[in-house]
Symmetry: none
Subunit: 412 residues, 2 copies
C-alpha cells in the first residue's frame, strides 16, 4: 500500500495564528483511497527549506502532495522550487496563459504581468485546471514517485483534488481500503487501559491501534487495511471485540459518541429525567448535558449552588449537615442530589461538590477532592474522587466522573 | 536571529480528526523570544520516519523542539529514537523513577510497570521536571544544536516550557526582541472592526497587525520587533493607542484577559455579587464565570431552568407572563434576571432565554433568537439578539453577549 506526505507552503502557516487545515481534509480523502499519510510538513515561503523538504519527502514517500505557494506574487515560490528539485526547466504554456487572460476578462479586471508566472509549467508536468482561481495545479512523475502540486485556497484545492487528482491516484492505491473504529473509555487512566489491552493489540499489525488521552477520557483508534470494506470490518471486529471484552463497561462509546450523548440516549430510552446540583463544576455538567440537541426532553433543571446558604435554600441541604461534615463531603453530595431530584421531580438527581482550587485545599481536604452523589427513586449513593491537575482540568474531570456515574447507574 | 523547527509526534495527528495545536502556542512563545519558526513537521509513532525527520531538522536548524510520544505505552517512541539519533544510550534515572512512583502514591493509584519507561533518559541529557504528569522532558546539546523534547499534553508541555525551557533559550536568542499585544473586542464583527482600523494599521509595517475571529470574539494581535523591549513597546503604544481610540468601549481586554476574567475583576472591584438564570445556554454562563479562580467571592448561584415550570418555581417568573409572551421573550428574560437576583440576594441578576436549535424555531421566533435580561438594584433591562450558526455557536455567542452586557453595565 502506498503512503503519502503532505507539505503545506506559506509563511502565514508558521505564525501563532494560523494552522494548516487543508491537510486534514486531504488526509480524509487519501485514507478513503487506502493511502495513509506518514508525515505532514509546514514550510514558509523559503526556498532552501522548501527545496530540502521536497527532496526529503520524495526520497521517503511515493506520493508527495503540496498545497500553496502558487500565487502570482514574488513570495509564491512553489513552481520555481519544484522545477529545480525535479530538474526540469519551466516552460511558458500558451494555452494556460490564454485561460488566465480569459478569467481576468470575464471578471472585467486587468491582468497584472505577475500573473503570467502562473502559466509557467515544468517540462513534462501535467497541468491540473483550476476552475475557481488562476493558478493551475501540477502532477509530476519521476519513476515510481508522484509529486502533486495544489493551490492553497480550499475552494480551489478541494475541487481540483476530487475532480482530477482522485482519478489519478485511484489506480496507484490498488485495491486497499482503510476502515477505522473508535472506542471511548471512562473510569480508567491511559496506562491502566494500555496494560490491559497491550497483550491483545500488540499481536496485530493490522489493524493498528492508537491510544489517546483526550482531556478527560481515553480514546482508542483502530485502523484496518484490507482489499474490501467487508474484509477490513472483519479484521476490526476480531480485534475490537477482544478489547471490548477486556474493558467491559468502561467502554462507553463505540461509534464516537460523547459521554453526554450516551447519557442522553440512555435517559431517552428509559424515559427518565435528570436534574443537576453543582458546586465546584459551576454549571459544567448542566452545560454538557444541554450541549446535546433535544436534551430539553430529559434535562429539566440545574442549580449551581456555590454558597452554603444557596445549598440550603435551593437544595434543602440541612445547614447542620454542612456544619457537621463540611460543604465538601459525601453527606452533602448525597443531600444535594436528593434535594434537586425532589424539587425538580426528576427520575435522577446528581450532586457534585469538591475543591477545584487553586485555593481552598487543606491537608484533610486537598484540591482535587470531589464527591459525586446520585439520587434515584429508591437509592442515594455517592463516590469520592481525588482528581489531578489544575482548576480547569479538575472541573473537567469532575464533570466526566459525574456523567460517567450517571451512565453506570443504568448498568446496574 | 536563530530559528527553530517544531516536530509534533503522534499517529493521531496524522488522522483527519486531530491537528497539532501545540505548535501554535510554542510559536508564540518562541517569537516572543525573538526566535522564528522555519518548519513544522508532524510524524506518527513511526520509528524510521521520526528518525529521518529528527536528523533532517538537526541538520537544518539550531533549535529543534519535539512534542509528544513520551507516554508510558508501547507506541511512545520519542525517547528511544532521540537516543538513537543523538547516539547516546538510555539510562534509568532512579530519582525520576522515585518521583513517578510518588505521583502515583499521592493519587492512590497502582503504578503499572510501563511507567518505568518514563524514567529512561539519554546519557548527558538534562531532564525537565513535569509537575503535571509523569513524563519528564529533555534538553540535549550537540555542538551548537539544541534538541528540546517536550510531552504532548498542553497542560504538561506549557508550564514546562515557560518555567524551564524559556530560561534555557533566552541567552541563545540574541538582541532582537519581539513584543506582542492583544486586544479583544466584543459587540462588533470582524469586517466591521477591520474597516474601522485598516486605515490606521496599514500605515505600519512594524508592528504587524493580525485580525482573528476567535469563535465568539474578534482578536487583534500586534507584533513589534526592536533591539529592546522598551523600543518595541514604544512602537506598540503608538499603533495600539490609535486603534483603542477608534474601537472605544468595544475593546474589553488589553492584556489577553478573557471576558469572564474582566467581568470578575469589575465585580470584585465594586464589591458586587452576581447570580445567573439560564435557559438556552444551559449553564454555560455560570460555567464561564466560575472558570475564574476566586469566583466564589462574587458568583453566588446559578439556575438552569429549561422547563417553564422550573422558571416559575425556581425564579418566580409568573406563569401568565410565560403564556402571554412565550418563554423566549424580553419579558421573561427580565423576569428571570429579577427573580434570580431577588432569590440569591445579589447585586446583579442575569437572565438568558433563547432558541439554540436545531429544532424549536418558528418564523416569528427563529433559531438564534436570544434575549438577555439584566437586573440591578434600581433598573431591569434587556437586549435582543439574532445570533448566527449552529447550536454550539449560538450557545457560545449567547454566553458572550450576556457577559458583555454585564461588563457594559459597569460603563454606565
Amino acid at each position: 500500500m502506498p503512503h503519502a506526505e503532505i507539505i503545506a507552503i506559506g509563511s502565514e502557516l508558521l505564525t501563532p495564528f494560523r494552522s494548516d487545515t487543508n491537510s486534514l481534509w486531504l488526509t480524509a480523502e487519501l485514507n478513503a483511497l487506502g493511502i495513509a499519510v506518514r508525515r505532514k510538513t509546514v514550510v514558509g515561503d523559503d526556498e532552501p527549506f522548501l527545496e530540502e523538504t521536497l527532496r526529503d519527502a520524495l526520497r521517503n514517500s511515493p506520493i508527495v502532495i503540496t498545497t500553496g505557494g502558487l500565487g502570482p506574487t514574488e513570495d509564491d515560490i512553489t513552481r520555481k522550487v519544484v522545477a529545480r528539485v525535479m530538474q526540469r526547466p519551466l516552460v511558458l504554456q500558451p494555452d494556460i496563459l490564454d485561460r488566465i487572460r480569459h478569467q481576468f476578462e470575464i471578471r472585467g479586471l486587468p491582468m497584472s504581468p505577475n500573473n503570467e508566472r502562473q502559466a509557467l509549467v515544468p517540462r513534462d508536468a501535467t497541468p491540473l485546471s483550476n476552475d475557481y482561481g488562476t493558478a493551475p495545479g501540477l502532477i509530476l512523475r519521476e519513476g515510481d514517485r508522484q509529486l502533486i502540486v495544489l493551490p492553497g485556497p480550499p475552494r480551489e484545492m478541494r475541487p481540483m483534488f476530487t475532480q482530477q487528482v482522485r482519478l489519478h491516484l485511484e489506480p496507484l492505491a490498488g485495491h486497499v481500503r482503510l476502515r477505522t473504529r473508535t472506542l471511548r473509555v471512562a473510569g480508567m487512566g491511559e496506562s491502566q487501559v494500555d496494560s490491559l489491552i497491550a497483550p491483545i493489540y500488540t499481536r496485530y499489525t493490522n489493524p493498528t491501534t492508537t491510544i489517546l488521552f483526550n482531556n478527560t477520557e481515553v480514546e482508542l483508534h483502530f485502523t484496518a487495511k484490507a482489499p474490501s470494506d467487508d474484509e477490513a470490518d472483519t479484521l476490526l471486529d476480531e480485534l475490537v471485540g477482544q478489547v471490548e471484552d477486556v474493558l467491559g463497561a468502561n467502554v462507553f462509546s463505540h461509534r464516537g459518541e460523547t459521554l453526554e450523548q450516551i447519557v442522553g440516549l440512555r435517559l431517552t430510552v428509559k424515559g427518565y429525567t435528570i436534574a443537576t446540583a453543582e458546586s465546584c463544576t459551576g454549571g459544567l455538567v448542566a452545560k454538557r448535558l444541554t450541549d446535546v440537541p433535544g436534551s430539553s426532553q430529559y434535562f429539566l433543571e440545574g442549580v449551581v449552588a456555590y454558597s452554603n446558604a444557596a445549598k440550603t435554600r435551593l437544595l434543602d441541604v440541612p445547614a447542620e449537615l454542612i456544619s457537621e461534615h463540611g460543604a465538601v463531603s459525601a453527606e452533602v453530595a448525597e443531600a444535594m442530589a436528593a434535594g434537586v431530584k425532589a424539587r425538580a421531580g426528576t427520575t435522577i438527581g446528581v450532586g457534585i461538590t469538591g475543591i477545584a482550587g487553586p485555593d481552598g485545599g487543606t491537608d484533610e481536604k486537598p484540591v482535587g477532592l470531589v464527591y459525586v452523589g446520585i439520587a434515584g427513586d429508591f437509592v442515594v449513593t455517592h463516590r469520592k474522587f481525588i482528581l489531578p491537575g489544575d482548576r480547569d482540568r479538575i472541573r473537567h474531570l469532575a464533570s466526566q466522573v459525574a456523567l460517567d456515574l450517571v451512565r453506570r447507574t443504568f448498568l446496574l
